[in-house]
Symmetry: C2
Subunit: 410 residues, 2 copies
């Protein structure tokens, strides 16, 4: 029997497995292919801070992830749509992602950071940060929040998030979810997870309603929450895994200690034939842990944020360019690195530029840290294809951790 297959321009294929859950694959999107595992640099407000898209392409970035919340507030999704969508607006011809705004309406709108950092001084299901008026309020229909820019009141529902993300037009978009913290009670987590499940259904319905055959296909990823609870994470992955999502995000407050467990529970339950994006994770050691637990793609502001604070990565660990040891260091950050910065600039120049508070310091350090991270994940991919992942992980993380500890002692 023949079935008619419509080529949406989006597909995912697993190419190789290594040991446990680690896998290499390929995501095709209407704007290009992403070889996985892949690190997706973050361009929150339609720019990867301090770096032109030209440089992002040169350093091997395969896609860029922007934030629906930020672009909704400034310049407005309608303006991005009029410009021809996110990629056209920011002059990035490759694949794009947008997140749903679920994280930001809570974490920025609510001044939620302290809570995410697991500050115990807050009431369970009624979060108030630092004594300030609560800026985000969740109900079963959506979230009412205040802009972190001007305090104006806004409301996101699953439908609004889909409408915003359709206007932005990224290749991969995410369902609207509720962000909880490790401080919420188990009962609250159960209720929240059910809400996120119902919102996932509403996102799919609105997504279908908004689709147009005349526009490039946008793949919708459901987001798995469930905090630190194995039972809830597995249930969420089972529930959303049965829905018609093109892929999945793994969200919520995840740190180094619970990353392997949480991602492992989730990928155990998710269908193998769809890609899994681990939201907000991108430190070198965490990337290995995420891949080992079955994640395919990653986004994180850390490589660029640390770069702007003069902290750079090398195979021998992380170090700070402002340390006086680099004043006369006429050598690159990493002699084995092929990035523009390491090919053309010494640590002495970068030390000077950071001391002098020159913007190029941030630009050059960001180029290096993103290239380092992109290249690290490329190497991880290659080690999977070569059936050498576990050995590579042990070798890299041993050297990196020892070097980082030594740099801190210096």
């Amino acid at each position: 029997m023949l079935s008619r297959v419509v080529d949406t321009g989006f597909s995912f294929a697993v190419q190789a497995h290594a040991g446990g859950r680690a896998r290499a694959g390929e995501i095709r999107t209407p704007h290009g292919t992403i070889n996985t595992p892949a690190f997706i640099p973050v361009g929150t407000k339609a720019t990867v801070k301090a770096v032109l898209p030209e440089s992002m392409r040169d350093l091997g970035a395969q896609a860029i992830l922007a934030n629906a919340y930020h672009l909704y507030l400034q310049p407005g999704a309608d303006i991005v749509a009029e410009a021809g969508g996110l990629g056209a607006f920011m002059n990035w011809p490759g694949p794009t992602f947008t997140d749903s705004g679920g994280f930001q309406v809570m974490s920025l709108g609510a001044g939620f950071k302290k809570v995410l950092a697991m500050d115990p001084g807050h009431r369970d299901d009624d979060v108030i940060a630092d004594g300030k008026e609560r800026l985000a309020r969740v109900d079963d229909d959506g979230v009412t929040f205040r802009s972190h820019l001007d305090g104006s009141e806004h409301r996101f529902t699953p439908e609004v998030s889909m409408q915003v993300q359709h206007a932005l037009g990224a290749d991969i978009i995410f369902a609207f979810d509720e962000l909880t913290t490790l401080n919420n009670t188990f009962d609250y987590q159960v209720a929240s997870l059910e809400r996120t499940r119902l919102w996932a259904d509403r996102c799919l319905a609105e997504h279908d309603r908004l689709r147009s055959p005349d526009l490039p296909y946008q793949a919708l990823f459901g987001v798995i929450q469930g905090a630190q609870y194995e039972e809830l994470r597995r249930k969420a992955a089972q529930d959303l895994g049965r829905m018609a999502f093109d892929g999945f995000g793994i969200g919520g407050a995840i740190d180094k200690r619970n990353l392997s467990d949480i991602v492992g529970w989730v990928t155990d339950e998710l269908p193998d034939d769809r890609p899994r994006h681990l939201l907000g994770i991108g430190e070198p050691g965490d990337l290995f842990a995420g891949v080992a637990a079955g994640a395919d793609t990653f986004d994180c502001v850390s490589p660029s944020r640390e770069a702007r604070n003069s902290a750079v990565y090398s195979p021998d660990g992380r170090f700070n360019l402002l340390a006086s040891a680099h004043r006369r260091a006429f050598e690159p950050i990493d002699p084995t690195c092929d990035c523009y910065t390491c090919q053309h600039y010494t640590r002495a120049y970068l030390h000077h530029a950071f001391k002098a508070k020159e913007m190029v310091a941030s630009t050059l350090a960001t180029i290096h840290n993103i290239r380092f991270t992109v290249r690290l994940v490329e190497s991880i991919r290659q080690s999977i294809l070569d059936h050498d992942f576990d050995a590579y992980r042990a070798e890299f993380t041993g050297r990196y951790s020892a070097g980082s500890r030594a740099a801190v002692r210096d």
Copy 2:
């Protein structure tokens, strides 16, 4: 009779004249050729703010000018020397200039800006800015000043300036001069000019002593001061014009009102066979006036400083990208511009990036303003070669001024 000509790698030739004093020429340096008139972007601290040298090359910059004062304080001229000199340190392969520090030890060291802006509230020859302790003190031997970074005390003499500029290794360097203001009395100007003349002699002597046949030739330019006084400007040009300088700088507090007169008096007296650099001038109208009065090269922070403040140039005048009119302007800053920014970005994107306080806004606007200025001076050069300078000046400045006035009214 045969004379032995040593090729120093430095030379200047006039290629064409237009009308009065305007001329087109060619400066050869050990690191490349500069076609004049030319605008030389400023990289104060060994970086053109917000722009990588790669982009500077792409936008047609022929040389970069850095500041001896800033590099002496941070990172230190010794470190730049160890790096292989200014060009190698900052990854700029083309010609470089450094100024002498004479302007900065007075203007920054002394907190002198108010006086330069012709604030009348200061005593003649004993400048104290804003009631703060005077940070720079001039004597016949040199200037003692405090660092604007940390208040530490330093001393520049003509010899120190030469030593610093030899360590930095730029192709074109400037003699150490005393900066006066239009508020100093005539008697003070006379005494100061004589001091600058004696310092010029000492610079030449120290420059000769420091020269090495093993290092690239550094051309030394004498600096013509004399404030707003025709008699003093002509005398300074005659005096320094007789000395063995490779070229000349025209310095001091010069503004739109007196620019044509001052530069004209000076170039009347200077030998025709050596290049003339007009220090600190770079606004579109002033470039035409400077060329008309006989200047060959120009440096100025304005194009980049204005860009960082969201003000951009176009043939129809200067305007500010933060104006709400640009929120939905899906067109480039200047549709006739060939710069990277105008080729890839709309005013709407730049408006957004400035609103969002993203660094790329400064980068993209700087690329445009410098390209605009470089290209404008290239067009001025072409108009001289085509014997069309006066007509081009009238056409450009009429349209530019009218457009800038309209933008301010908007």
